[in-house]
């Protein structure tokens, strides 16, 4: 009897092992089954419920377990969606886009039917074949002309659409006004310059107590991303695309000027954290804890942490445009955004269902109600709601005005300053190998922060050579 049990156990183990190893192919077969049968639904009106359609299962981008409010909103959306599209079954996937994981996810066919990504990734995902061409679905979408074109254009490449804009931002400097007031430091005007930034930081910094004036990120690719704002303000570019070739352009005079500014912050003014090896989370966390008066990022994240975890009041946190290099200059910041991309491995029917899900609440009354419920929920919990700095719709559209009306009704909503917003000048990131460029610049920035007498021009030239030889030379511009 014991032998039989042991054998059964062995066989079960063996079977489960083989099942685990062979799961991928089954999935592929199941996934491809509904292709033909469900095609008719794509020819009909997308808003009509295709009652005769074959069942389709899609896995969706779902908020993290700690985002309970967002999960509740998503659950309500799933319920409404499944009522309208009963043939679609929704599976939740809490995998969130990660540059280091997307390759594995796509190779293993484990990526959800649609997933989130950022503006930097458009060209990369398209070149790798990891973003579905949704031009046809897009052309049939009734609200396509009301989507914010500044954001949406990042995912329209060579006339083809590869993603749907969710929200966006122009990189800003978020300032802890409370710290400035406590130190008796003057609050600069929104039309500020690099010199104003240094002076403000100097007025607040207290290195002996571990208080920094500003925390430029110094760890990971975000370090290069932070610095690129200053490169843009100085009039520089990351790369040039000419004659079918991509060449590094950041080792220009503007690049030198922007690095000299970093050198000034670190060595002359001594206003950055002594422990400057901070990634996005570290720097934003330091801002929320009052260990730095300024942080450079899209405004939403630092605001949310400062208000909902750092205990600051909305009037104590100001969102500034990035400073101009000189008086009268542009307040250029990197334009970024969140997008949803459909998995090219999905069948046409799944892609259509995913597109319908992504745009389900866009421009709808349900979307407005969901927003209001969300704000109320935040209020009940004593939290502040931080709206996206740039939304998927045009702010001055009819829908945009309705949203503004809702935001205006509640006192727990953070309000961006109109004067500051008017000065924002968003510039898209480079098209090719942006993350590789950021990585190379991170090394240069760390060198500047750790060695006082670093030859800025030599370091920039070396980084440009590396990026050119390792990445840009291999690019063939179509």
């Amino acid at each position: 009897m014991r032998k039989i049990s042991a054998i059964s156990l062995c066989l079960v183990l063996l079977a489960s092992l083989l099942a685990a190893c062979g799961g991928g192919s089954n999935k592929g077969e199941q996934a491809s089954a509904p292709t033909n049968s469900s095609t008719p639904s794509s020819s009909g009106d997308a808003s009509e419920t295709p009652k005769t359609a074959e069942p389709v299962t899609i896995s969706i981008y779902y908020p993290n377990p700690d985002q309970t409010e967002l999960r509740a909103i998503e659950d309500a959306k799933i319920k409404r969606f499944e009522e309208k599209y009963p043939h679609v079954t929704i599976e939740k996937s809490d995998w969130h886009y990660n540059v280091n994981e997307i390759g594995i996810k796509m190779a293993a066919n484990e990526a959800p039917t649609f997933f989130n990504t950022w503006a930097t990734e458009a060209k990369f995902l398209v070149e790798k074949g990891w973003a579905a061409d949704i031009t046809e679905l897009w052309n049939n979408y009734e609200f396509k002309d009301q989507i914010n074109p500044i954001l949406q254009n990042q995912f329209i490449i060579d006339g083809k659409v590869y993603g749907v804009a969710q929200k966006g931002y122009v990189t800003t400097t978020v300032v802890n006004k409370k710290m400035l007031d406590e130190k008796g430091a003057a609050v600069p005007s929104y039309d500020w310059t690099w010199d104003d930034m240094v002076n403000t930081a100097k007025a607040v910094a207290d290195p002996g107590k571990g208080i920094a004036g500003i925390a430029p990120m110094g760890k990971g690719n975000e370090s290069g991303w932070n610095w690129t704002n200053f490169l843009f303000q100085a009039g520089g570019d990351i790369q040039k695309v000419e004659g079918g070739k991509v060449s590094a352009a950041f080792n220009s005079d503007a690049g030198v000027k922007a690095l000299e500014f970093y050198k000034k912050l670190r060595w002359d003014a001594n206003v950055i954290p002594q422990d400057w090896a901070l990634g996005w989370g570290d720097a934003v966390g330091a801002f929320a804890q009052g260990r730095t008066a300024m942080v450079i990022a899209g405004a939403e994240g630092p605001l949310d942490q400062a208000l909902n975890q750092g205990g600051l009041k909305p009037e104590e946190v100001l969102v500034y445009p990035m400073p101009a290099a000189e008086k009268g200059g542009k307040h250029t910041g990197v334009l970024g955004g969140d997008y949803l991309v459909i998995n090219p491995n999905a069948t046409p029917a799944e892609q259509e269902a995913a597109f319908n899900y992504i745009t389900f609440d866009y421009f709808s009354e349900d979307g407005l109600k969901s927003l209001e419920d969300n704000i109320k929920k935040f209020k009940d919990e004593g939290k502040f709601y931080v709206p996206p700095h740039m939304d998927y719709f045009n702010a001055d559209s009819d829908y945009g005005k309705k949203v503004q009306d809702i935001l205006a009704k509640y006192d727990n909503v953070y309000r961006y300053n109109a004067e500051s917003n008017a000065l924002l000048d968003g510039k898209p990131e480079a098209q090719y190998n942006t993350q590789d460029y950021y990585g190379a610049m991170t090394n240069v920035i760390q060198e500047i922060f750790s060695k006082k007498d670093t030859d800025v021009k030599a370091k920039l030239d070396a980084a440009a050579k590396t990026v050119q030889e390792q990445f840009f030379n291999a690019i063939k511009v179509q």
């Binding site: 042991a6 062995c10 422990d275």
Partner: protein, 308 residues
């Protein structure tokens, strides 16, 4: 002369078949029980190793298909200036691990073995950091190393300058090794302690009768008795530290200025940041060869230890 040879040659396959069938009959259940473990071993240990060798000769693209590139990946590894930096950093990390960390568990094991009271309690206290989740550990030590954290506060009180443990390239690797030593010495200590406690007591008593003091007892009885174990753990530590990447990645992402960029971390970055799996596989193969040599030394050492 030729006939018997022919006959035995014809008989041999048949005899082998019979022997094989007898072997299977005799060990059928044993083989069946072994099968899951063998499959797991082949699938998850040897298949990745073999695939790693194969991928090292390919440009790997999981979507568009792989392309054979010969020795190109190995050339790319040797041409990459970061590889030299990473090898140097890894050797430095291994060296620091020995200088700062290797002797700590031996010392603690000897000290604890000499304790007459509270031995169990001290053993638990010393092992406790080992069970700390690494995320907590990194957060804790980032605070210890903070410019206004307890270590720097102490230094400032003593009139010394602050040390930038994380952002000063001279200190960053040292700081990581100190942190890891603090966390991991407990495990090594337990192994040494077990060996020390198994040394016959009468050896110590004999040494004491001969007039040996505590230092002489340690020098002439304890240390020679655990010499084989010290050699084994020395090799194991070299193998483990040569693959170090976790703390370097989590705390400093290989910075500042590549000061904590180890070879294993460079493999991870090549594979997952640059999606250059072929080059990463080639780096892995080179590392496999070096570690394989170390493993052979370790095997020989443990064999010698067993014979002794």
């Amino acid at each position: 002369m030729s006939q018997p040879v022919h006959a035995s040659a014809e008989l041999a396959p048949a005899a082998r078949r019979i022997a094989a069938a007898a072997f299977v009959r005799k060990y059928f259940w044993g083989i069946l029980f072994l099968l899951p473990a063998v499959i797991v071993f082949l699938l998850f240990l040897w298949m990745p190793i073999v695939k790693g060798f194969i991928y090292s000769f390919y440009h790997v693209d999981f979507v568009k298909g792989n392309e054979f590139v010969g020795w190109d990946n190995y050339r790319a590894v040797l041409d990459n200036p970061d590889v030299g930096i990473a090898v140097k950093n890894t050797l430095y990390y291994m060296f620091l691990g020995l200088v700062i960390g290797f002797w700590v568990p031996i010392l603690f094991a000897i000290l604890i073995s000499e304790l007459r009271r509270f031995q169990g309690f001290v053993r638990v206290i010393a092992y406790l950091p080992n069970v700390l989740p690494v995320i907590v550990l990194y957060g804790l030590w980032r605070w210890f190393y903070d410019p206004v954290g307890p270590v720097n506060a102490g230094l400032t009180q003593l009139g010394q300058d602050q040390i930038l443990f994380m952002s000063d390239p001279k200190w960053s690797m040292v700081s990581i090794v100190i942190m890891e030593t603090w966390q991991q010495f407990g495990a090594g200590m337990l192994i040494y302690l077990a060996a020390i406690l198994s040394i016959p007591r009468d050896w110590y008593e004999a040494a004491e009768i001969d007039g040996a003091g505590i230092w002489q007892r340690i020098r002439h009885v304890t240390l020679p008795s655990i010499r084989g174990l010290i050699g084994l753990l020395f090799i194991l530590q070299l193998i483990a530290t040569s693959q170090g990447l976790q703390a370097q990645l989590a705390m400093l992402d290989g910075g500042p200025n590549k000061a904590t960029l180890t070879y294993a971390l460079l493999i991870v970055k090549s594979a997952f940041n640059q999606l250059n799996y072929g080059v990463a596989a080639a780096m892995g193969v080179l590392m496999f060869l070096v570690l394989g040599a170390l493993a052979v030394i370790q095997y020989r050492l443990s064999e010698r230890g067993e014979r002794a």
